[in-house]
């Protein structure tokens, strides 16, 4: 098991105590899908379906979330952009194909475009999905980009031949504590609202995770992850290394994946200050001792407001 780094001190933002610690994050590969539909509701429906069961690479093989609604899309219809992260390009390719095939192709009125058209590294999408057309599929090259028209019961599903893959950062995080669960959740929700922006994805339900995990387990060598007992308030009197201070009755984590280190850092900055403004008692961050992740985001560097 990898021990988390214990905060060495703290500073305050208003009435909020901010631990002098850091979030530890990892390089990941990601794709950005543009999903359009006849209405914004159907575009959201497809995007929500495509990003379902994608909270953590440990259990879901990818992390995905709706990035933002779009007003300008390739076909001029309402759209949503989706970010999907995996540990390598092959992982991105498999997950994109599965999810677009099962959740976007199947959804009424949708079309699927590439949100990273300039990326050099690419994974197949339409060039594989086309076989669903059973020989009746047709392609069109539009402004140098090949699309596949797959006949379906409604008409045609239009999907781009391949999507770009970028190198991003996964695992940026904030851990937000409150006097009780309601106040901690209120502060976490305020942070989520501030964090959500272009270039970042919050893969957990509503952007918030209540079951933050640590690498490995105390009781088993086969568990890849287990509850982050140091942040569990019910264990505060039971363990020697609790990170839950007096006056904190509940904690929530916001996990942030981003298209770049800077996107994650600035998202964390927005979330930290929003949580403090919404009455969080404590804001800290989860790490694995600093030895696993390539990217460290010290909370002290986020002291200045966005």
């Amino acid at each position: 098991m990898t021990e988390a780094s214990t905060p060495t001190g703290s500073f305050t933002l208003g009435d909020t105590e901010v631990s002098d610690t850091f979030a530890e994050a990892f390089p990941m590969r990601y794709a950005r899908l543009i999903i359009t539909a006849a209405t914004k509701e159907w575009a959201h429906e497809a995007a929500r379906s495509a990003t379902g069961f994608a909270t953590s690479v440990i259990g879901c093989k990818c992390e995905a979330a709706i990035e933002c609604p779009l007003t300008r899309t390739p076909d001029g219809r309402p759209g949503v952009s989706v970010l999907l992260f995996a540990m390598d390009r092959e992982g991105v390719g498999k997950r994109v194909l599965d999810r677009v095939g099962q959740c976007v192709l199947t959804c009424p009125t949708t079309a699927c475009f590439d949100g990273l058209p300039d990326a050099e590294r690419r994974v197949a999408l339409g060039s594989s999905l086309r076989y669903f057309g059973d020989g009746f599929q047709a392609s069109k090259v539009v402004s140098g980009e090949r699309f596949w028209r797959i006949p379906v019961m409604e008409g045609e599903f239009l999907v781009v031949e391949s999507v770009g893959v970028g190198t991003g950062v996964g695992g940026g995080n904030l851990v937000i504590g409150g006097a009780d669960a309601a106040r901690a959740l209120g502060a976490a929700q305020a942070a989520v609202d501030a964090v959500r922006d272009e270039g970042v994805a919050l893969p957990f339900p509503g952007g918030i995770v209540r079951s933050g995990s640590k690498v490995g387990a105390l009781t088993s060598s086969s568990m890849p992850a287990s509850t982050n007992h140091q942040f569990a308030p019910t264990l505060r009197a039971q363990i020697d290394d609790s990170l839950v201070p007096d006056g904190v009755g509940a904690m929530y984590e916001i996990v942030i994946d981003g298209m770049s280190e800077d996107k994650v850092r600035e998202a964390m900055r927005r979330g930290l200050h929003a949580a403090a403004g919404a009455g969080a008692a404590l804001v800290t961050a989860a790490n694995f001792g600093g030895g696993l992740g390539e990217f460290h985001f010290p909370l002290t560097e986020l002291r200045d407001p966005p």
């Binding site: 390739p74 001029g76 069109k140 539009v142 008409g155 045609e156 239009l158």
Partner: protein, 271 residues
């Protein structure tokens, strides 16, 4: 760097100006360019006798004047930009594989014939066999895009293999003749005998068409690929009415004398 050519004297006959491409003129000064010769029937005319030449050859070539007797501008070009101010002759951009040609005026026959890539934009009308195949050749265009704002002559996109021929006005008879694939769009409608021998190609007509018997009605729907193509065209000088983007099109499959994998889409937004 830009090289500018302004037609000074009408030529005595048709002139083969296929030397006028950015790559063939790159690095050449006005004096050197003026000394180059052009074929005019059996004559070889110094370019400087016909044109006022200014500048040095580079990525940009500007040609101006009444160029209706000047054929082959941009023939086989692979890179760079040509702007033609005025109407020009036949074979404009034929066989081009890259780069961009913009014409402010009408063009003659065979514009973009057998082109393989690049963009050809004509703010005017085009003659016969726009983007077509030369006699004896099975395939016409195999890539690139041709956009014209006016009308096109007969057999636009004949033998089209890949690429797009978009016509803002009407196309003459025989559009998409024996096309293999690719797309011909005529917002003002296509003439008689469109899509004869069409294998896998798409023809879109913005007005009603009298179809050949080899085509069979399939459905009225909003084709997503056509919507995408029309939106892209709207960004390239072609005024596309919003009704074409949002409306319904009737899909006719054919030509049944061939594979029957082709289609003619006819704008049909009425009840």
């Amino acid at each position: 760097m830009t090289l500018s050519l302004a037609l000074r004297t009408p030529p005595p006959g048709r002139v083969d100006a296929s030397v006028l491409t950015p790559e063939r003129l790159r690095g050449r000064g006005a004096r050197e360019v003026s000394a180059m010769t052009l074929s005019c029937g059996r004559l070889r005319l110094p370019l400087g006798e016909l044109f006022d030449v200014v500048g040095t050859g580079g990525d940009h070539l500007f040609v101006a004047g009444d160029l209706r007797s000047i054929d082959g501008i941009g023939h086989g070009m692979a890179t760079g930009h040509i702007v033609v101010d005025g109407s020009c002759g036949d074979h404009l951009g034929a066989g081009m594989s890259g780069g961009e040609i913009l014409v402010d005026g009408d063009v003659g026959a065979w514009a973009g014939a057998e082109m393989r890539g690049g963009h050809l934009t004509i703010r005017g009308n085009a003659g016969d066999r726009l983007g077509g195949a030369y006699p004896g050749t099975r395939a016409g265009m195999s890539g690139g895009e041709i956009v014209i704002t006016g009308d096109a002559g007969q057999e636009a996109g004949a033998g089209l293999r890949r690429g797009l021929v978009a016509i803002g006005g009407r196309s003459g008879a025989g559009a998409g003749l024996r096309m293999l694939a690719g797309t011909v769009i005529a917002l003002g409608g296509v003439g008689a005998e469109a899509g004869m021998g069409n294998k896998r190609g798409s023809i879109a007509s913005g007005a009603p068409v009298r179809l050949l018997p080899g085509y069979t009605f399939a459905v009225r729907y909003a084709p997503p690929a056509l919507r995408l193509q029309l939106r892209q065209l709207k960004r390239r000088y072609l005024p596309v009415d919003d009704m074409f983007l949002t409306g319904q099109w009737a899909r006719w499959s054919g030509d049944r004398t061939e594979l029957a994998r082709g289609e003619i889409l006819i704008f049909d937004d009425g009840e």
